[in-house]
């Protein structure tokens, strides 16, 4: 395979007119910008159209995606993104609008966001949503900035934020970004929040607790109401990290569990493109008492007219240009309308069923991290395999040979040799059975030929990458000066 970058393939003088000519007349940059803002031409590669097509087609063939393979990456909810989402978000009227158009011209788009907000409010019990944040992590930061501002306006002296030791890494990171001290609470042996330990660290200076429910072990925090009580009694707020919301659609709401601020990853639960295939959307929802803190603007309606409402009393301001990734919102809206109330309930029921099916079929060969029932994902602890010299990493890499994306490894951090499997509701029983068969086969391979596992994957153009070198000496960009 030709591994060269497109820059390295450049052939001076080769070119094509494959960029479509715009319908309007273009001005030269010098006619619009002052001389000091002009730059010289970039040394972009020169290639013919065919060479460019081949370059990217070949690259795309190397891509491992949900459209090509089973992708049970835990906590990531890699569910299928129905193609109708793409079709409808590519409608001319959505595709060719510009945020600088007048509100009157944008009313269809504004109405869609308004309606999406109403649906998500019903699903979560939240009062209002903001769709500006364009990732889960940005949604978290937005939510926690609101909590910070809330305490400031209420003149509450708050200093710390609590996270369980099973939390996503973004939770303590967000807390630190907001200037809070992060206090980690150890989980109990079942992998749930330890109420006694929690009570000991919560006091009047507690700004919030950040929780995922189901948590990262795929377990429902069954004491969530007691947790909410402890936090609220001390004047703190509950932040819900929506990463695992796929387990709860139509079953319960973050509001019923006592949460005050939440984010939903539309690119997880609501079937919009995920990961590097993004862009993402971290919708942030709040209960009544926090609506005055939302990022401005929100979309409101006055006499059948939709408009950007900037009058939000204690708004934390904007968190992103314009209004987030609009076309992602179209996809989520299509998804909700197609499924409806009954469909969404079945999404979660099947997501939970699929995870538990895998758990039951594998539990004799791989240790399960907790005895508590699993929700939408199951965490295995490959300690028995590790004792025989095969760590979770080798098992994960070997799955690639069998045509599957590895599950999440070594997370949550409190589980040794963790493999976190989230099949999602969109996989058939046949696919689940194939995954189960391969996991059992790999377990037998440990006895038969462990070296095959140490050397896996065997079928990919790139074998094991040198993660250590990549982390210690990252080489992240092409340098023009290399010539």
């Amino acid at each position: 395979m030709d591994n060269r970058l497109i820059f390295e393939k450049s052939d001076e003088g080769r070119k094509s007119n494959y960029v479509k000519k715009p319908a309007i007349e273009l001005k030269e940059p010098g006619q619009i910008l002052p001389a000091n803002l002009l730059r010289e031409a970039l040394p972009l590669p020169s290639l013919g159209e065919l060479e460019v097509v081949r370059h990217y087609t070949n690259l795309s063939k190397l891509n491992f995606s949900l459209d090509t393979n089973f992708y049970p990456l835990g906590s990531c909810t890699m569910k299928y993104n129905p193609k109708i989402n793409e079709e409808l978000s590519s409608l001319e009227g959505f595709l060719n609008i510009h945020p600088f158009q007048s509100e009157a011209c944008l009313s269809g788009a504004l109405e869609l966001i308004y309606n999406l907000e109403a649906l998500l409010s019903e699903i979560t019990g939240m009062k209002r949503f903001s769709f500006q944040a364009s990732s889960g992590a940005q949604g978290e930061l937005t939510g926690m900035l609101m909590i910070r501002k809330y305490h400031k306006v209420m003149k509450n002296k708050k200093r710390k934020v609590i996270v369980p030791d099973s939390s996503h890494g973004t939770n303590p990171a967000t807390s630190s970004m907001c200037g809070y001290e992060t206090v980690v609470v150890e989980s109990n042996p079942d992998g749930l929040i330890d109420l006694d330990k929690l009570s000991k660290v919560v006091d009047g200076e507690t700004a919030a607790i950040m929780l995922t429910n189901p948590n990262t072990l795929g377990l429902f925090e069954e004491n969530i109401l007691e947790v909410a009580d402890i936090i609220h009694k001390n004047g703190g707020l509950l932040y819900y990290d929506g990463a695992n919301f796929n387990a709860l659609l139509g079953i319960t709401t973050p509001r019923l569990m006592g949460f005050d601020v939440i984010h939903l990853n539309l690119h997880k639960t609501f079937s919009t493109p995920h990961g590097c295939g993004g862009p993402g959307a971290g919708a942030v929802g709040v209960v009544d008492r926090l609506t005055d803190f939302l990022p401005a603007p929100v979309i409101d309606k006055k006499k059948d007219k939709f408009y950007f409402n900037y009058k939000i009393k204690h708004s934390i301001g904007k968190v992103r240009a314009f209004y987030g990734n609009f076309s992602v919102l179209v996809r989520a809206y299509v998804y909700l309308l197609r499924l409806g109330r009954e469909g969404l309930l079945r999404v979660s029921q099947n997501a939970v069923l699929n995870a538990n099916y895998i758990r039951e079929k594998l539990k004799n060969d791989y240790n399960v991290a907790s005895n508590k029932p699993s929700m939408h994902e199951v965490v295995f602890s490959c300690t028995r395999q590790k004792e025989k010299g095969v760590p979770a990493l080798d098992i994960a890499k070997r799955l690639i040979d069998y045509g599957m994306h590895p599950p999440t490894m070594y997370f949550p951090l409190i589980v040794k040799e963790a493999l976190m499997v989230e099949p999602t509701e969109t996989e058939s029983r046949k696919t689940l059975d194939y995954f189960i068969d391969c996991m059992l086969k790999i377990n037998r391979e440990i006895e038969q030929n462990a070296q095959t596992l140490h050397d896996a994957p065997h079928t990919t153009p790139v074998k094991r990458v040198d993660e250590v070198r990549a982390a210690r000496n990252p080489d992240l960009r092409w340098r023009f000066s290399a010539k």
């Binding site: 070594y410 997370f411 951090l413 993660e467 250590v468 982390a471 210690r472």
Partner: protein
């Protein structure tokens, strides 16, 4: 002569009168895997027994470093920052992280000696 003590969070302290050199145990470096990044406090910063004094990152995860003892940082292993692999290669020697002036000698009693730490690790890995 210095004495070697361990914490249940897998840090060690080499105690010499009222100073201590601090790093992580061989068991800890082994569990973490290849270390790629280390963040430690500055000289004159205060560290507190049982509290976080830094961060260590491997290809698997980022973890907190907890100080076995309270005191003031009097020296840091500057060369280690650019050579994090030393933690893997030589956790108890070249992989040392900070040196502190011990604030409260009685805290030393809360730490484990080498034999007790070995027992603790044996239990924890099962």
């Amino acid at each position: 002569m210095s004495i070697l003590k361990f914490s249940k969070t897998h840090e060690w302290a080499k105690i010499d009168n009222n100073t201590a050199v601090i790093g992580i145990s061989d068991y800890a470096q082994h569990s973490l895997g290849d270390i790629v990044f280390i963040e430690v406090p500055k000289v004159k910063d205060k560290v507190k027994a049982g509290s976080q004094f830094g961060t260590i990152e491997s290809t698997k995860a980022a973890s907190e470093l907890y100080s076995p003892l309270s005191g003031e940082v009097i020296e840091i292993n500057k060369d280690l920052i650019n050579n994090p692999q030393w933690v893997n290669e030589s956790p108890l020697e070249r992989g040392w992280m900070i040196k502190i002036k011990i604030e409260n000698n009685s805290e030393v009693n809360n730490l484990l000696d080498e034999a007790a730490y070995k027992d603790f690790v044996a239990k924890e890995s099962h």
